[in-house]
Amino acid sequence: MRPAEGHNTVHRVLGDKKAILILLGPALLVYTLIKLVPVAWSFGLSFFDGNPLGGFTFIGFDNFVRFFNDPQAIHALGFTVLYAVVITIGQILLGYALALLYVFVLKNASNFVRTVVFFPAVIPTVAVGLLFRSMFAVGQNEGPVNAALDAIGLGSVDWFASGAGTFIVAILMELWRSMGFFAVLLYAGLLDIPEETLESARLDGATGLKLVRHIVIPLSLPVLLSSVIFSINNSLKVFDTILALNGGGPGTETTPLTLYMFNTVFSYSDYGYGSTIALVLTILCLLVTVFIFRSARRDITRN
């Protein structure tokens, strides 16, 4: 800390109104116009029935009552939560394991593996969906997965005929696609841990898992936390991959809230109810994030 006589200057400069306006103003302006206003607009729509062409009728809370009495909506909600939980756990575990691998095992030689494992994250999601649909195909145009199952005598599986099968493929696809991405994200956090800290911990006898549990995880907690929030918010909003893989089917077995909302608005022209579904999803994301923040804070204080 510099001498105390500078304190007033520090506060004056750090509170420079003009600088705040120049730095924050543009972002706040576009954000308000393009995000906050439309959100409020959409929020308002959830109390109406109709669409821009046919007109809107105020119906109060009817859409919310309908949501909780709509078996498809409840199923979509359940699927969304299940998918998000499984994907988040998978992404973080695999990503973290890979990041540890890069930093502590492969070290400077990790470049190649990191590049290869990361690469699927840059492939357009529609392409990944089409690729996995072909990989897991059954029948005359059988994909490698079923060919392999046949070869080892297990018999081929019609993955896309059941919700459970499609769910498994969707999970494998998303983890295949994104684990390298989360690995790099977490890797950047691990690199920031000072070598001296690790070295002194090693001198104290912490090795292997112990080192990871007591030193590495606590020190990478901030980046871990943002990764979890990033992962769960993205997987709660899953759309492209599910759509490209099996269109949310069979039936509506693997339809998440986003897709149900999209269909409701854009295929059934039911803008009011669609906005209600979007609102439920938004509230869900909000609750989950707040929950993670809270439990993370508890963890930090406990440590």
Partner: protein
């Protein structure tokens, strides 16, 4: 389920490896490399299979085993993919949308984060919360009002609706992550700068941005792929095929049931992937230099 368990097992085995006596080290080392090989195989094989498929004829798809190599490497499928789907235009559009979006997003986001985290003023927490809450809002929620706005302002039939929407969609995460990174920098750094007499704007560019280099690259990485991979917004605001991005083009391409066969479809996907590979190898270098700079700082 090799995909799920392999890396976990690998990491535990490998984390211990350096501390083991040399006799066990050999075995552990072998297992380690086998598992790493498996990991690479799992990541690469689907792409290899896709690439091989892009050279196959329709007949080969239906009459030959799925792992068979193509009978010849002629480029018929690629020619068809390029003529049927307008892939060059799609790639150009994707770039024309992604690069300005990223630039604006990061410029606005880093500046806002600096004002919200480094500078001290009343109400900053409220505004930060408003930004961060945006992370949780699904894109679906803003599509309908935005379409109306863009239409009224005559922006449809250009790429601007995409650029503007992506910029704003990316802002919450950028602001959130940037404030986190700024928080990690000791406040003394900025306080010292003010004592040296530099203005806030000056220290933002001279100290804030350079310190954030590593973080900017990370966020650029995150946002690049979420913009590049977006389907929802591109689909909604793309009014003509000459404005279609890669994702939209690919979706339309696969939908042409009358003419599309597996070979050309796989070729179209392969072209997209190869394009991304070139870009990625270039970007990858940038990422590595950024990360290296970051670790030096640490």
């Amino acid at each position: 389920m090799a995909i799920q368990t392999a890396p976990v097992a690998m990491a535990t085995a490998s984390a211990r490896a350096p501390r083991r006596p040399s006799a066990r080290r050999g075995i552990v080392g072998t297992i380690k490399w086998v598992l790493i090989g498996l990991l690479v195989l799992v990541e690469v094989y689907p792409l290899f299979w896709l690439l091989m498929g892009s050279f196959k004829t329709q007949d080969e798809f239906f009459s030959k085993p799925t792992w068979a190599l193509p009978e010849s490497f002629d480029l018929t499928n690629y020619v068809q993919a390029l003529t049927t789907g307008d892939l060059a235009t799609n790639l150009r559009n994707s770039l024309l949308v992604t690069v300005p979006s990223l630039f604006l997003m990061i410029l606005l986001g880093v500046a806002a984060a600096y004002a919200l985290e480094v500078m001290v003023w009343k109400g900053r927490n409220g505004i930060l919360l408003a930004f961060v809450a945006g992370i949780m809002i699904p894109g679906q929620m803003i599509l309908v009002p935005l379409f109306t706005v863009y239409f009224k302002s005559g922006l449809t039939n250009t790429l601007w609706p995409l650029i503007i929407t992506y910029t704003v969609m990316g802002l919450p995460l950028t602001v959130f992550m940037m404030t986190a990174f700024f928080r990690a920098i000791p406040r003394e750094v900025f306080e010292a700068a003010t004592l040296d007499g530099s203005s806030m704007l000056g220290s933002f560019f001279r100290i804030g941005v350079p310190l954030m280099r590593n973080a900017i690259i990370t966020i650029a990485l995150v946002e690049f792929f979420s913009v590049w991979n977006d389907l929802l917004i591109a689909l909604t605001f793309t009014t003509k095929s000459s404005l279609a991005t890669v994702q939209v083009g690919l979706l339309n391409f696969s939908g042409e049931y009358g003419s599309t066969e597996y070979g050309p479809l796989f070729a179209a996907i392969s072209i997209n992937i190869l394009g991304m590979l070139v870009l990625y190898l270039f970007l990858n270098k940038q990422i590595m230099t950024g990360l290296a700079a970051g670790s030096l700082k640490g």
